[in-house]
Structures are given as structure tokens and as C-alpha cells.
């Protein structure tokens, strides 16, 4: 029905949408996890924060599963290669993520300050490290990764964990952490009051400041210091200076993405206390801008190779067949709206301010 190239671009857009949804939803519960030990000092305050995200966090995780599932089905080679390349950070992410649900479930089970403090830091670890690794992984895509393809299109990977830490990817990790801190704080500020609320708006400011500075620094590095790769007209991959900014000269409209990102971060910083709702929406805007900037600069590449340029994986040489993509398009056309609808319904039902009194009255049924 559609030709292969249209399908490939459609799926690239869809996967971007899924990642945006993942970061918009999972972003705030992860962010709340990061600021939990700092923004909330008393046990009741911490319970308020945990119960802000309690009904949503595992539903939010659906977007991550869906996004990664979509990568697996639409870009099998990219999935296989990336998961071998990032084996260590992804495994560590998994181990850290264990602490989150455990923290939510276990901290209330024993009424002892040391026990609760331990699991609060468990939630912190389970939120901060996966966020940082997410940024680290995306940052490394711009550096290029050591792999080559054999005759069966199988990736031969030679990577070490330490090699993944370079200035750009670390900056990207910091950016991601700042983004999620801002998002988590601005969301929970909408649903809390009193001193906790004041502390949260401070964290919105902190997060947006970190994200703003690292975003600008990353842009400068891409522009002045780093080589990027581009796809020539004859389908050859070439490495040129500031190559990652090439898409901005061929598609000038793309400039709206980083602009929206910076604008969102700035508004979130300026209006965090005056209008929490505006701060939250501009935080969403910043996330959307950041994801489009990241994927738009890379396009059409997803995983560039540093040792064998021509083996770099793009959305064209890494995708599944036209048949598979068509079948998946029909499934996605039905299921993605369904997920959107039930998620929205769930948020609507469970909206409202969480107060200390509410926590005390429902002592046994809440986290």
C-alpha cells in the first residue's frame, strides 16, 4: 500500500512520538524519584510525593516498553546492535530500576526511620542512574560506536563501559537529569501545597537551569568541536566538521526544535513559582523540543559506527521489511490511541491535590 521509504519515515516519526510520550510521563515520576530525598524532608512529605506518582508510574512505564518494543519490531538490526553496544549501561539501568518499585512497596512496611531512609535512597538510585544512563546512551550516538557488520548484517561489537564516558555524553546525561528534575518538580508542584510546594518550585528552577546550560554547551560542542556524519546524495556516509548540524541547513524549519527546547526551559525557570501550570506545560514543551532536536539532528542515522563509517545504521538500512512495517502500522493505528485514551482517563480520575491530612486518613491503603 505504502512504499518502503514512506513506511520507514512513518515509523521513525512514530518512535519519536513514543519517546516523547515516555519522557513526558515517565519523566515526571523519575524526576520525583530523584528529588525525593532532597525536596521532602519529613516522612509525610515524602509519602505525599510518592503518592503523587504512585497510581501512574507503572502505567508510564508502558511508554518505555512500547518505545523499545517498537524499536525491536521496526528496526531489528538497530535494536540488536544498540543493546549489545550498551550492554553494561542497560544492565546497570535494570539493576538500578529494581530499587524503585521495591522502594515504593517496602518503605512503608516497617516503621523505622533508618529503613525508610534506606529505601528513599533506593528510589533515588533507581531514578537518577537510569536517567543519567539514558542521556549517556543518547549522547554516545553522536560520538559513534565501535561496531562493524558481517555478511549476514550481524553486528560485531567491541566496546567497553569506560569508553562510553566522554565529555559530550556525560553532558547529555546531566542534561537528561536536569530535564527530569524540572519535569518531576513542576508536575508535583501542581498537586501539593505549603512548604513542600515551595521546595518543589526551587527544584523546578534548579532542574531547568542545569538543563539549559548543558543544552547550550552541547549545541556549542556539536557546532565547534565535534565531527558529525552525513549521508551524501550517492548514499555514501561521510564524516565532516559540525556534520550533526547539517540537517539545519537543509531543513531550516528544524531550528524550531532547539528553540522550543530553550524557550520551554527558560519559561519553566521564570514562572516556576508564579504559575505552576505554565511551568509544567513549558517543561513539556522543553521535553518535546529536546527529543525532536536529538532525533532531528541524527536523522537519518540512529547508530553511527566509529570504526566502519559505511556500516552506520540509518532508519533505511536498519528497518524491517515493508510487509512487517505495514502490519505493524495497522496494529499501532489501533493500539496507540487506545493507550493514549486510557492513560488520559487514568490521569483525569486521579487528579487533585495531595495533602498531609489525606495521607494520615488513608494510612493503611497508601504507600
Amino acid at each position: 500500500m505504502f512504499d518502503l521509504e514512506t513506511l520507514q519515515i512513518t515509523w521513525w516519526v512514530l518512535i519519536c512520538v513514543l519517546f516523547v510520550s515516555f519522557m513526558l510521563t515517565n519523566g515526571f515520576d523519575t524526576g520525583i524519584g530523584i528529588i525525593l530525598p532532597f525536596a521532602a524532608k519529613t516522612d509525610t512529605e515524602r509519602r505525599i510525593l510518592i503518592n503523587v506518582l504512585a497510581p501512574h508510574w507503572d502505567g508510564n512505564q508502558v511508554w518505555l516498553v512500547l518505545a523499545i518494543g517498537a524499536v525491536f519490531a521496526a528496526w531489528p538490526v538497530i535494536y540488536g546492535t544498540a543493546f549489545s553496544l550498551f550492554y553494561f549501561p542497560l544492565m546497570l539501568t535494570l539493576f538500578c530500576l529494581f530499587f524503585r518499585p521495591l522502594g515504593f512497596d517496602y518503605r512503608g512496611k516497617i516503621d523505622d526511620p533508618r529503613w525508610r531512609e534506606f529505601w528513599d535512597w533506593g528510589i533515588f538510585v533507581g531514578s537518577a542512574f537510569p536517567t543519567f544512563f539514558l542521556g549517556l546512551i543518547i549522547g554516545n550516538l553522536y560520538i559513534g560506536l565501535p561496531f562493524s557488520m558481517d555478511e549476514f548484517h550481524r553486528a560485531h561489537v567491541s566496546t567497553t563501559f569506560i569508553a562510553l564516558f566522554n565529555p559530550f555524553s556525560i553532558l547529555s546525561g546531566i542534561f537528561c537529569t536536569g530535564l527530569f528534575i524540572m519535569h518531576g518538580a513542576s508536575y508535583s508542584a501542581l498537586r501539593t501545597e505549603d512548604t513542600l510546594n515551595v521546595s518543589l518550585t526551587r527544584h523546578t528552577k534548579l532542574g531547568s537551569l542545569i538543563a539549559f546550560i548543558s543544552f547550550v554547551l552541547m549545541g556549542l560542542m556539536l557546532w565547534q568541536m565535534m565531527d558529525g556524519i552525513i549521508l551524501n546524495a550517492d548514499n555514501q556516509v561521510a564524516s565532516v566538521k559540525a556534520g550533526w548540524l547539517n540537517n539545519y541547513s537543509t531543513h531550516p524549519n528544524l531550528i524550531f526544535a532547539p528553540t522550543a527546547g530553550l524557550l520551554g526551559l527558560a519559561i519553566a525557570y521564570l514562572f516556576s513559582a508564579k504559575s505552576p501550570l505554565l511551568a509544567f506545560f513549558s517543561s513539556c514543551l522543553a521535553i518535546i523540543g529536546a527529543v525532536i532536536t536529538a532525533s532531528g539532528s541524527l536523522f537519518p542515522f540512529i547508530v553511527p559506527s566509529s570504526i566502519s563509517l559505511q556500516d552506520s545504521l540509518t532508519i533505511f538500512n536498519g528497518s524491517s521489511s515493508a510487509y512487517a512495517l505495514t502490519v505493524m502500522s495497522w496494529c499501532a493505528a489501533f493500539f496507540v490511541p487506545v493507550i493514549f485514551i486510557y492513560t488520559a482517563w487514568c490521569y483525569k480520575k486521579l487528579w487533585g491535590k495531595l495533602t498531609a491530612r489525606f495521607i494520615q486518613e488513608n494510612d493503611h491503603s497508601l504507600y
Binding site: Y87, F98, R154
Partner: protein, 270 residues
């Protein structure tokens, strides 16, 4: 092949084939020692008829050997197609035998070139298409035995719960149920072994051999993740057990809602 391996049926028998209840399958000798056999049963279960043959392992190996030889040819044609100057005749003959390409790839384990495989290598590769018969044979029987055991326990529980005496006053069936707790887990693990080992040497039957479908991660990488997972889950198990026992001891009456057993006992009669 999976069926023949699970039932350790080495030779193709006259239909309907006999069912081997127990025995000691021997991979080297390709026969089952001390087999206890029920006539006709396998033919009836597997083909739902009494006149269709169930192919034995030896016959399937011979068939696979033919496919491997065809696969070598398909591999050579694919190489020539990839080089970009294949004739139309070559394209057509590749289309005819491309189904066997996966069998040709089984030789990758022995020779990287595939086309220069020796007779000995072809023989070894065709023997590779037989999964581990003794393991499959026993894993399958363990699964069926666990399942039957559960059926028995449920049956007994059904009978006991319909008698006059309340089931909580019959320690025998309660204890039986308690020791039967691991059986569903054993059954599903054994079934998993049958499914996964039964499809060896394939990841996708007839298309992708397992040794070509793995990633290039090293054994050390996998030791790291496996150790991490085992360590983590062991720790979790300890914590979880501690919490579970704590709350089981406290019981629902610790909530003081007045709805549960011990609270009713404590309350004085009105």
C-alpha cells in the same frame, strides 16, 4: 524432529507407532535402553490416526543431510547473487532451493566458506539437527508427571471439600497441597526446557541456526549480568521472605478493623 526427540523414537516404525513410556535414550548408540513401550499409542496421539507414520530420528537426519547438500548449493548461489553479476538461470535456481539455505548455514560452525565442506563435516552437521534426546525425553515426562500430580491433588481436594467434614479439619489434603506448591513451577520449567532444547540447533526452525543468531558479547559480559541478577534476586528473596513472614504473623487483624478472626475472639460476648 522435536516430537521424535521427545519420544526418543529413533527408527520410523510401522503405523501406528508404539509409545515409549520410560527408558534410557542413548545418543551415541541411537537407541533407547530398557524401554517400556505401549503399542500403537504414539501413532494415535501424534497423528490422530492409525495409518500415518511418525518419522523416526534416523530418517529425519537422512532427510536433513539432503537439505544440507542443497543448502550448500543455495549458499553458493546467494554469494553469486550478492556479487551482482548472477545470471537469470542462477536467480531462478536460487528461488527453487532457497528454502534449504538455512541448512547450508548449519555448516558455518565447521567451515566458514560452507561450499568447501567435507563429507565428514556434512555428516556432523546433519547429526547436529538432532536435539539432546535424553534431556528432552525426561524433561517432557517430568512436566507431564507434575501436571498429572496437580490434577490428582485437585481431584482429591474436590472430593474432600464435598464431604461433611470441613476441609480445614483434614490435615492430610492440606499437607498434600502444601508440598505440591512447587509442582506448577517444575512443570513450566520442564516444559520450557522441552520447548527451547527441542528446537536446537535452530533459533528459527529451518532458517536461522542458533550459533549465527547470538550477539557478539563475550562470556564475561554474560557472567557479569548473570551474577548481578542472581545476587540481586537472592538478596530480594531474603528481604521478601522476612517481610512476608512478618506480615503473615501479624495477620489481617493487626489492622484493627474488627472484621477478622482473632479480633472476634478477643471481644467479649455481648
Amino acid at each position: 524432529m522435536k516430537l521424535a526427540a521427545v519420544e526418543a523414537e529413533w527408527e520410523t516404525e510401522e503405523a501406528p507407532a508404539a509409545f515409549t513410556l520410560f527408558g534410557l535414550p542413548d545418543r551415541e548408540a541411537q537407541e533407547t535402553h530398557y524401554a517400556v513401550r505401549i503399542p500403537w499409542l504414539l501413532g494415535i496421539i501424534a497423528t490422530r490416526s492409525i495409518d500415518t507414520e511418525v518419522k523416526g530420528i534416523k530418517e529425519l537426519v537422512a532427510e536433513n543431510e539432503k537439505k544440507i547438500r542443497e543448502g550448500i548449493h543455495a549458499y553458493a548461489l546467494l554469494k553469486s547473487l550478492k556479487s551482482g553479476n548472477a545470471s537469470d538461470v542462477e536467480k531462478e535456481s536460487f528461488d527453487q532451493i532457497k528454502e534449504s539455505l538455512g541448512y547450508g548455514l548449519l555448516l558455518k560452525k565447521y567451515t566458514d566458506n560452507v561450499v568447501d565442506a567435507t563429507e565428514e563435516q556434512i555428516r556432523l552437521a546433519s547429526l547436529d539437527t538432532v536435539p539432546n534426546v535424553p534431556v528432552l525425553f525426561w524433561a517432557f515426562r517430568l512436566m507431564v508427571a507434575s501436571g498429572s500430580w496437580m490434577l490428582l491433588v485437585f481431584g482429591l481436594a474436590f472430593i474432600y471439600s464435598n464431604t461433611k467434614k470441613h476441609i480445614s479439619d483434614r490435615p492430610f489434603i492440606l499437607k498434600l497441597a502444601l508440598i505440591s506448591l512447587p509442582f506448577p513451577w517444575i512443570a513450566s520449567e520442564a516444559g520450557w526446557i522441552v520447548a527451547e532444547m527441542g528446537r536446537q540447533p535452530w533459533s528459527i526452525a529451518g532458517i536461522l541456526p542458533t550459533n549465527l543468531s547470538t550477539s557478539t558479547l563475550t562470556a564475561d559480559d554474560l557472567y557479569f549480568s548473570l551474577t548481578g541478577l542472581i545476587g540481586f534476586y537472592t538478596l530480594l528473596f531474603v528481604v521478601e521472605m522476612f517481610l512476608m513472614l512478618k506480615y503473615t504473623r501479624l495477620g489481617p487483624s493487626s489492622l484493627h478493623t474488627g472484621r477478622y478472626h482473632f479480633e472476634k475472639l478477643e471481644k467479649p460476648e455481648k
